[in-house]
């Protein structure tokens, strides 16, 4: 599974949806439970799954699937 697929799975479990519903353009508040609390649950799960840590400032800007994906790739160096 590549990073993009793995990240989609995490989105799907966190927001209780199917991973094929997630696209690069998916953004915050598109799902009912991707609110500010959902954002924290998502980032926690992403940090755990990829064994990375984001700074507080970074987290504030990670509001679309694509931005989160790019941050993960940047930290892990894996596509």
């Amino acid at each position: 599974m590549n990073t993009e697929e793995k990240l989609k799975e995490i989105f799907a479990t966190t927001f209780n949806t199917q991973s094929d519903k997630i696209t690069l353009q998916t953004k915050q508040n598109e799902f009912e439970n991707w609110d500010s609390l959902g954002q924290l649950r998502l980032i926690m799960a992403v940090e755990e799954a990829f064994n990375v840590s984001f700074a507080i400032d970074e987290i504030a800007s990670m509001t679309t699937f694509e931005r989160i994906l790019n941050k993960v790739i940047q930290k892990t160096g894996k596509k």
Binding site: L37, L40, R41, M44, E47, E48, S53, I59
Partner: protein, 523 residues
């Protein structure tokens, strides 16, 4: 599905996901820092949720209220929800702070926790969640992360939430009595090091030397489990003589042959043996945990018997005892209290084996007669209600309605005068089995409803169900009840109830609703 509500003075919302992942649980999480109003206000979401369990975590660093305010709020809530079990995390503060060596933070938390313990010990519905124990095992830095505190008032890390959810899973199972009954053990390289048939009984690793100490500690722990009521069974591919030699001659062995209620030592596939154990002990394989060092045996047993629990075995043998405690004992054999029956369990099953020997030489009626069965039927009282609750949780075969009761529900029914609750104690010439059955009867003028009727599988096949029902019918007659109704809940395992009800003279049209007049007693 059971319901749990989460209350805190910080944000513990992510715990919801972790708990739902682990359990068949529906989780309600109260708003941030709403714990006190939720407990006090009858119009709160908590009251509307009507949960089976409430979990309260109060972070002492952030707590502005006095601990007595917590107890006062709990009293109010408990008065409304008598059946709800409340789980409170013990208190802790950040281990290091600016005051460095000048203040004694332990003094403060110790005092709070002593008060909490005192409060919990006076109540039936309060349980303590060992947050401090988790911290001392895993470490503060592993469980807490400051970042999420500043992002959203969350103190726990991802690992923290996961660890708490796992521990909650264990605790909820033990509160509900959803634990396993039997531990099936392999021998070679499992309870001792080496292979008895190859190395010889004197050369296996067990005792005070080297890795032998690992297995000695392992056996000590297994014996402790046995003393808490877990039944032990050997399942090993071996020649029985080789194994007996180890037990008889090796003085370093701590486990003894008689500590096991069954010895399945042969070359048959282990899954076959495990199915035999189920038949012989009259228990379902879902009550079994199977420990074997060999991955092929584990895989085979898992595939053949899906409802069997087969934990992985540690690859590093030094971790054996730690693994036993965290991966086997807490998930499958955790207890909140030990009853007198638990202490006697192995003896009871061994006497059963003797009884089976007697029965092989006699006709059935002769056998029953020779047992000299004596039943003692009593109203459920403060000494017996915990055992009765346990019985309702664990009995699956001879169980009319499969209604499960918690300690607390039992206690409340005891005080309810509409209910007649009877316990049945069994004794025969082999010994006392303790309380093995109960009947819970709801009275409504001259009609009684049998809400629950069950017997432990240990005494089945001895007509105890008939004798016990005679007591009940007699008793009902004396208080002018002339009809006893019952609803049978059919499952795959309790078909014998149907046979019993019609044998006893209950009438039915649909094999679900049964009824019996009390004036004609069937002998």
């Amino acid at each position: 599905m059971k319901k749990i509500a989460l209350l805190s003075n910080i944000n513990i919302d992510p715990l919801k996901n972790h708990l739902e992942k682990n359990n068949d649980l529906s989780v309600y999480c109260a708003g941030f820092n709403q714990w006190q109003t939720e407990l006090l206000n009858p119009l709160s979401g908590l009251y509307a949720n009507n949960p089976d369990f409430v979990f309260i975590y109060l972070n002492a660093d952030e707590l502005t209220q006095n601990i007595d305010e917590l107890f006062a709020a709990l009293d109010v809530f408990s008065a409304h929800f008598k059946q709800t079990q409340i789980i409170i995390a013990d208190f802790m503060l950040q281990p290091f702070s600016v005051s460095t060596y000048t203040s004694d933070i332990d003094l403060l938390t110790n005092k709070m926790n002593a008060d909490l313990k005192m409060y919990a010990s006076e109540k039936q519905n309060i349980h303590i969640f060992g947050m401090n124990r988790l911290i001392s095992y895993h470490g503060y830095n592993f469980l807490f992360d400051d970042k999420y505190w500043y992002l959203g008032y969350i103190k726990f890390s991802y690992s923290g939430f996961k660890t708490i959810a796992d521990e909650m899973n264990n605790l909820l199972n033990s509160i509900q009595g959803k634990t396993k009954k039997v531990l099936i053990l392999d021998l070679d390289n499992t309870i001792w090091g080496g292979v008895a048939a190859e190395d010889g009984w004197e050369n296996i690793q067990i005792g005070n030397q080297g890795t032998g100490r690992i297995y000695a500690d392992f056996q000590k722990n297994i014996i402790k489990l046995k003393n808490q009521g877990v039944l032990l069974v050997i399942c090993s591919k071996n020649n029985e003589d080789d194994v007996r030699e180890v037990f008889e001659k090796n003085k370093s062995m701590l486990l003894q042959w008689d500590d096991f209620v069954g010895h399945y030592i042969n070359w048959q596939p282990k899954a076959d043996n495990i199915l035999h154990i189920a038949t012989d002990l009259k228990l379902g394989t879902d009550a079994f945990v199977f420990i074997d060092d060999h991955p092929v045996e584990r895989e085979h047993a898992r595939n053949e018997i899906p409802e069997l629990t087969v934990p992985e075995f540690p690859s590093d043998i030094a971790q054996l005892n730690r693994w036993l405690i965290t991966d086997v004992v807490y998930p499958f054999f955790a207890k909140t209290a030990i009853t007198a029956e638990d202490l006697e369990k192995t003896n009871q099953y061994q006497r059963n084996a003797e009884r089976q020997n007697v029965s092989q030489h006699l006709s059935y009626d002769e056998f029953i007669k020779k047992l000299n069965i004596r039943l003692k039927v009593k109203k459920v009282n403060t000494e017996s209600y915990k055992r009765i609750a346990q019985l309702t949780q664990k009995t699956n075969q001879f169980n009319l309605s499969l209604k499960r009761y918690t300690d607390l529900e039992m206690l409340n029914l005891m005080e309810n005068t509409d209910y007649l609750m009877l316990s049945c104690e069994y004794e025969d010439r082999f010994g006392n089995e303790g309380i093995i059955g109960c009947a819970i009867i709801k009275l409504n003028d001259d009609i009684a409803f049998l809400e629950a009727y069950m017997l432990s599988c240990r005494v089945l096949g001895r007509k105890v169900e008939h004798f016990f029902m005679n007591f009940i019918v007699d008793k009902l007659k004396k208080i002018n009840v002339n009809q006893l109704n019952a609803i049978y809940k059919p499952t795959q395992r309790n078909a014998m109830l149907k046979t019993f009800l019609s044998d006893y003279g209950f009438t039915t049209n649909d094999e679900l609703y049964y009824s019996k007049k009390t004036d004609k007693i069937n002998k």
